[in-house]
């Protein structure tokens, strides 16, 4: 292969829009830098925040990501892909040989619907809901005898939560009587409740259920980083306006500080020194078929709850035949997700759905566990129940005025409640390697082994009971329920490199550094000890900022 063809393969459409921070290096040059201070694997929210923090402190940072740098100009096309019924194109390029996986547990796990590989990571398609975990989440075993305690408390993480909310420009209000203590207001005002929220609020009040606002990583007002939300209504899976936070914001900050971001550079394995105490290099591939070694003083794995344990397992060596940082045997174990529970129906009045694509009211009244009989429940009041008019029109078998009548009946009087339900850590739920299948680089694919336990199923039933009572109070005809038999994951991968003080019971310590290798940090939801029922990204961000502080102190 000549160098020109290699360069072309390595070039992405977005390359022409940016310049390289290193003099003499083109933007699509994927050869390694000289030994840097920090090499970060993964350019999602965790990797981006750590890169921004450490580069701001003057450290040399290289970030390697398996996926591409998406061109922001393509986001409207992604939105169309999403909106047009029957469009077969996968969003954000997920799927194919690169993303091959197995799911051999009782429950199939739809992994490629649950993540994005690329600069920005899964924040490119996330919903943008950002709540703090509760104090009880950090001491669940001590409080009610469920799960396990974290090695850190809410108070330890509290300043980092505040910093994470600043980083995400969170729009929120202090009207939630169930939220953990906080000193400062959210950076931006909360989005006001929707019309349908007002219908729900009345019914909930009759039942003694308190509702409140929702913290959103979505600009309710313009900031220096982005404009205010303009209501495209397609937040998940794509925000064309950029008002919803995604990690490319902090990737941009890191690059402006001099960090180097290398896309389409999937890390194949980590190498360690002869003593087995330090990682020496991240070995990564390029689109042109070359393999390079990036050396660094410190390494950070921030590739999500599936690829992070997979990479540790792929990094087996003579000294570590079971994978890197795996002396506990727990790498990949304790895989958790949140389960969706929902009830929907129709009223005999208009409910004004689908004007926006995000939620503006929740209830955390059933979050903390009274005892060990159930896990956490986070109730959501949806603003996008039922079909949109265009959805109905595209599949209807009438035209003209008859079609308009059909759409009038089908759209506009739906209501729905959702809930996230906690799944406790269980050792048998895990991410492991499937040695019978390989990806496009010949590496064994991840195998997600996942099942639901009886307590989780019971909590889903309890969530359904509450939801049904609200809809019945509202006078709705209930038309669907998502319960324990047809529930699905909320796409929050947690627990697979759990944090702890005992090296035989955990993979990383309270600084998020692996027990086994002194210069290897794992950041992201894989370090969660328990998952609670809050959307995890604010906690991912808070932990990442904490890890960045510890890294900076060591550098």
């Amino acid at each position: 292969m000549n160098s020109q063809s290699g360069a072309d393969l390595d070039r992405t459409p977005a390359d022409s829009r940016r310049s390289s921070p290193e003099p003499g290096r083109t933007a699509f040059d994927r050869t390694p830098s000289d030994r840097v201070d920090v090499c970060i694997v993964g350019a999602g929210p965790s990797g981006a925040l750590i890169a921004a923090e450490l580069s701001a402190a003057g450290h040399d940072v290289v970030v390697l990501d398996a996926g591409p740098r998406f061109d922001p100009a393509d986001r409207e096309n992604e939105m169309e892909n999403h909106l047009r019924p029957g469009n077969p194109e996968p969003l954000w390029g997920m799927g194919g040989e690169r993303d091959a996986y197995s799911a051999t547990g009782d429950r199939h796990y739809p992994l490629n619907a649950a993540r994005v590989k690329g600069i920005g990571g899964s924040t490119l398609h996330w919903q943008g809901m950002v709540m703090r975990l509760h104090e009880q989440d950090f001491e669940l075993d001590s409080a009610v005898g469920l799960g396990a305690d974290w090695p850190i408390s809410y108070d330890d993480l509290r300043p980092y939560y505040a910093a994470a909310e600043e980083a995400f420009s969170v729009a929120g209000a202090s009207d939630n009587p169930f939220s953990p203590p906080r000193k400062e207001p959210h950076p931006l005002p909360a989005f006001p409740p929707s019309y349908s929220d007002s219908l729900f609020a009345e019914a909930c009040e009759s039942l003694g259920i308190t509702t409140h606002s929702v913290p959103n990583a979505r600009n309710s007002e313009a900031t220096d980083e982005a404009g205010a939300c303009v209501g495209y209504g397609t937040c998940k899976p794509v925000c064309p306006s950029g008002a919803k936070y995604d990690a490319t914001r902090h990737v941009d900050v890191a690059e402006a500080n001099g960090a180097r971001i290398v896309d389409r550079a999937p890390v194949q394995r980590l190498e360690h020194d002869a003593s087995g105490e330090r990682v020496t290099a991240a070995v990564y591939a390029t689109p042109g078929g070359e393999e390079h070694r990036q050396e660094a003083r410190e390494f950070v794995l921030a590739a999500g709850g599936v690829e992070t344990p997979r990479l540790l397992l792929l990094s087996e060596s003579e000294q570590y035949p079971d994978g890197l940082a795996n002396s506990s045997g727990l790498v990949g174990r304790y895989f958790m997700d949140h389960l969706f529970a929902g009830v929907g129906g129709q009223l005999d009045e208009r409910t004004r759905q689908k004007h926006v694509g995000f939620i503006t009211t929740e209830s955390h009244q059933f979050y903390d566990r009274p005892d060990d009989s159930r896990t956490a429940i986070k109730l959501e009041f949806l603003n996008y129940a039922g079909p949109a008019p265009a959805d109905v029109a595209m599949t209807a078998d009438s035209f003209g005025d008859d079609l308009l009548d059909e759409i009038w009946s089908a759209y506009g009087n739906h209501v729905a409640m959702g809930a996230l339900v906690e799944q406790l850590p269980r050792k048998e739920n895990r991410v492991r390697l499937d040695h019978s299948r390989t990806d496009d680089h010949g590496n064994p694919v991840p195998d997600v082994v996942w099942r639901l336990d009886d307590r989780t199923r019971a909590t889903i039933r309890r969530a359904n009971e509450i939801q049904r009572s609200v809809l019945e109070e509202l006078g709705a005809e209930i038309t669907w329920t998502v319960g324990p038999d047809d529930t699905g994951p909320a796409f929050h991968h947690m627990g697979t490199t759990r944090m702890g003080t005992d090296p035989s019971e955990s993979v990383v310590d309270s600084q998020l550094r692996t027990h086994d290798l002194a210069n290897l940090t794992v950041a992201g939801s894989s370090v969660f000890v328990t998952g609670g029922a809050m959307n995890p990204t604010l906690t991912i961000a808070a932990l990442s900022l904490k890890a960045a502080d510890h890294l900076a102190a060591r550098l």
């Binding site: 006001p192 949109a388 759209y411």
Partner: protein
């Protein structure tokens, strides 16, 4: 209910062609020539046929259909050559079918005759398929495209109470408002 340029922009936004927002000269008046060119891959007859179909599949109280369909379609086909080719070929298939029963092209038939043709070709019950039989292609390239444009626009979706349909950047006020009727 009058379709306006705001609706064209809203529909184009939902169709992933939002970059025309604020560039009204791109919309012009939806004028194209009698023969396809590199810039205008569909002809005036193709656009007339789309307008004639829209008059059948849109609700009866809607006005300014012709300008809406022209402006939407011309920008849409310029952005997507595959779609443009599909429109051209499917209009020809529709006219071929009509030619077996009438002396005129589809666009020249009366409104009731146009509705009858769609029913005879089972377009109302056809699954949209770009590679299917004529009725399925008409549903995919012509009818569903027109329905999508209309019901993704503020005026079209607004007829059923959704002034800010998904794909339209209509702000964050309407979701808080109660029913208008």
């Amino acid at each position: 209910m009058e379709l306006t340029r705001r609706d064209v922009l809203g529909a184009l936004s939902a169709a992933g062609v939002g970059s025309v927002s604020g560039c009204s000269d791109l919309l012009e008046d939806g004028a194209v020539g009698e023969s396809p060119t590199e810039d205008d891959p569909i002809t005036d007859h193709d656009v007339e046929t789309l307008v004639a179909l829209a008059e059948v599949v849109y609700p009866s109280g809607v006005t300014e259909i012709e300008s809406f369909v022209r402006e939407y379609s011309v920008v849409r086909v310029r952005e997507d050559p595959t779609y443009a080719r599909g429109v051209r070929e499917t209009v020809a298939r529709l006219d071929d079918y009509v030619a077996e029963w009438h002396d005129d092209a589809y666009a020249d038939l009366s409104a009731s005759a146009r509705a009858d043709v769609l029913e005879q070709m089972a377009v109302d019950t056809a699954d949209p398929d770009p590679d299917g039989v004529a009725g399925e292609r008409i549903r995919y390239y012509l009818v569903n495209e027109l329905l999508y444009a209309f019901y993704a626009s503020p005026t079209g979706a607004g007829l059923v109470g959704l002034e800010n349909p998904p794909g339209h950047p209509g702000g964050t006020t309407s979701y808080r408002e109660g029913p208008h009727e």
